[in-house]
């Protein structure tokens, strides 16, 4: 049982780490603010989500698991709205620059 749980953790955390990697590559390689914002908020959130899923079997209690999941949901909420707001702020300044 714990071997299965460990395998699950290793697989999902590895996948999560890969998305962090992808997000950083996007951040370094993409040409403008909007695409970089896109890379950061999409890929990294998938990274957080997979890390959370991977750590779920180790959380020990139902409350701990719920807290982990709500962390992911909160990060999703704030990243999705903040990326909109930041992109809009960048856009507003663009014609002047």
């Amino acid at each position: 049982m714990s071997a299965v749980a460990n395998l699950w953790t290793i697989l999902t955390v590895s996948a999560g780490v890969f998305f962090y990697f992808a997000g950083t590559v996007g951040l370094l390689r993409f040409p403008d603010t909007y695409t970089r914002l896109h890379a950061l908020t999409k890929a990294d959130n998938l990274g957080v989500g997979l890390v959370v899923l991977g750590l779920l079997p180790r959380s020990g209690s139902v409350l701990g698991g719920l807290k982990l999941l709500s962390i992911w949901l909160l990060v999703l909420l704030s990243a999705s709205t903040v990326s909109q707001l930041i992109a809009r702020a960048a856009r507003r300044r663009e014609p002047r620059a």
């Binding site: 780490v17 370094l28 990294d44 750590l55 962390i71 960048a90």
Partner: protein, 93 residues
């Protein structure tokens, strides 16, 4: 197993560091505002991995606080820049 989680945490931290070198250089304020976002996702990921690896309790609560407040600094930036744009103070960013 813990060793694996630590390696993952170190890797995520390295990604955050790399990302920071890019976003802090700008050129615009909006690019720089990605730094707190990057810490919001990468920092929380590394924190959770670190907490799981070292078995420190209460770490999930720390991540929870960071997640609740992740949007806060960015929203303050958006409001302040709206304000300055409206009052017409020229900024050649």
């Amino acid at each position: 197993m813990n060793e694996f989680l630590l390696v993952a945490a170190a890797f995520v931290l390295a990604m955050v560091a790399l990302g920071l070198t890019r976003v802090l250089r700008g050129p615009g304020d909006a690019d720089r505002m990605m730094a707190p976002l990057l810490l919001g996702t990468g920092g929380i990921g590394a924190l959770l991995l670190l907490g799981a690896a070292t078995g420190a309790d209460g770490v999930i609560d720390v991540a929870l606080i960071l997640a609740v407040l992740a949007a806060f600094a960015a929203i303050a930036f958006v409001k302040a820049s709206e304000e300055t744009d409206e009052t017409g103070s020229e900024d050649n960013a």
